[in-house]
């Protein structure tokens, strides 16, 4: 009896669980500090730097990297690439978790989170001239769309067939609605910075920034699906069914090809942006060097590597490139929101994240991973539910 208990507790004490547990404990401490001491107690935010990594990483990167949901479902349902069907559910799940965590992070970041929960901007007074209003509206609606898109998996798990069938029937409407909303808020997140031409470095500030954000969200979505599937194959291989495993290599090739061509277009419009604002001379400065790191190292290079991987059928190269591209998207979003923002201020007034800000961000990501693990282990995400297999 005691022996049994010992093995049980041992099976839960994996390295992953211990680390996750420590992070969660730290995260809870940060949470208590945030909601008792205010933003000042846990952040380095200041009157010069009202937005830190909770916006730059949790919101901007979170939303961009959750783009896999709309990219994959659009490819499968709208563009008719049925061979990617097994990738839709995991992508929707990541999208749904991503957006949920964005909302969670915003509850930490805004001064009056309860008013956000009560939807003040939509219910009480509508600031329709604000791009943030547009972002908020689209993110709120899209979170609901993703919830409905994900529901069938949960309902299959719970065995509620009727409701599940209704939701499956409106897949098309949800997908199109999701693409519309994603186009809008992905681009509008970039457009948020249009109002601050004096604060964002000219190399990153552009009239095209909404387009950059939208196009790079497609790249982020494609790469994130590949990156996530690489990790899932490593840790949840046993959960995958024949269809999923069978479609996986084709998916890697297809998405790698798509990422390569979108990156090529993205690279081109970025260069056109420099020309449109005549920003060439900035390239010779320190900021220019950093910009070129982003442009060459995180856009041109992965574009080339994806193409190589696709030509040679080198799945491993495509997967590594996807991870590199994800990193590139994070670099871009942090550049716009934190690194190149307030570039004009003296070093003393610049922002660097507080220890507890980083802890909170890591905590939120950990919560996401734990939720992903729970759902993948229980619900039909990486495999098709045997009772619903025949339908597509």
């Amino acid at each position: 009896m005691s022996d049994h208990a010992a093995t049980d507790s041992k099976s839960y004490l994996t390295t992953f669980n211990v680390i996750a547990g420590i992070i969660v404990i730290f995260g809870l401490i940060a949470t208590i500090m945030r909601f008792t001491g205010g933003l000042g107690a846990v952040t380095n935010l200041s009157d010069y730097n009202p937005w830190g990594i909770w916006i730059g990483f949790d919101l901007l990167c979170g939303v961009a990297l959750a783009a896999g949901g709309y990219v994959t479902s659009a490819a499968c349902y709208i563009f008719g690439m049925k061979r990617f069907h097994s990738a839709v559910r995991p992508a929707i799940l990541t999208g749904f978790l991503g957006y949920s965590l964005v909302f969670l992070a915003l509850l930490y970041d805004v001064g009056r989170p309860f008013r956000l929960v009560l939807a003040y901007p939509f219910v009480v007074q509508q600031g329709t001239s604000s791009l943030l209003f547009e972002v908020g509206l689209c993110v709120a609606l899209y979170l609901n769309v993703l919830f409905l898109e994900f529901c069938p998996a949960a309902l299959e798990w719970l065995g509620i067939r009727k409701l599940r069938d209704i939701l499956v029937k409106i897949t098309m409407v949800l997908t199109i609605f999701g693409v519309v909303l994603s186009t809008l808020h992905q681009s509008s997140l970039g457009a948020l910075y249009l109002i601050a031409p004096a604060k964002l470095h000219p190399l990153w500030y552009s009239q095209y920034i909404p387009v950059y954000f939208f196009v790079s969200s497609v790249i982020a979505g494609l790469s994130m699906v590949l990156f996530e599937s690489t990790l899932a194959h490593k840790y949840f291989h046993h959960k995958m069914d024949e269809t999923h495993l069978g479609e996986s290599d084709g998916l890697t090739m297809g998405f790698g090809k798509a990422a390569a061509i979108v990156l090529a277009g993205y690279f081109t419009i970025k260069v056109i942006g420099i020309a449109a604002d005549n920003n060439w001379h900035h390239l010779a400065t320190g900021w220019g060097a950093w910009y070129l790191v982003e442009l060459i190292g995180f856009i041109a290079l992965p574009c080339f590597l994806f193409a190589m991987g696709v030509r040679d059928g080198n799945l491993k190269l495509i997967r590594y490139t996807a991870a590199w591209t994800v990193l590139g998207i994070i670099v871009n979003r942090l550049n716009v929101s934190v690194i190149a923002f307030n570039y004009h201020l003296p070093a003393a007034d610049r922002y660097f994240p507080h220890f507890w800000e980083i802890v909170t961000s890591v905590f939120i990501v950990t919560v996401g991973i734990l939720a992903y693990r729970f759902i993948v282990n229980n619900m039909p995400v990486l495999y098709e539910h045997p009772e619903y297999k025949e339908e597509h």
């Binding site: 509508q126 329709t128 001239s129 509206l137 409407v173 609605f177």
Partner: protein
């Protein structure tokens, strides 16, 4: 009666509010219209 706007900001708030309502109506209407358009298709 025509409303007088003294600032671009007020003009934007007003016009965008109207546009948001129209967008909502369109998104609902387009579903209905598509069904109307395709309800006699044989498949």
């Amino acid at each position: 009666m025509e409303q007088v706007f003294y600032t671009l900001q007020d003009f934007m708030v007003h016009t965008k509010a109207v546009v948001y309502v129209l967008m909502g109506l369109w998104l609902i209407a387009v579903i209905g219209f598509w069904r109307f358009l395709t309800s006699r298709d044989d498949d």
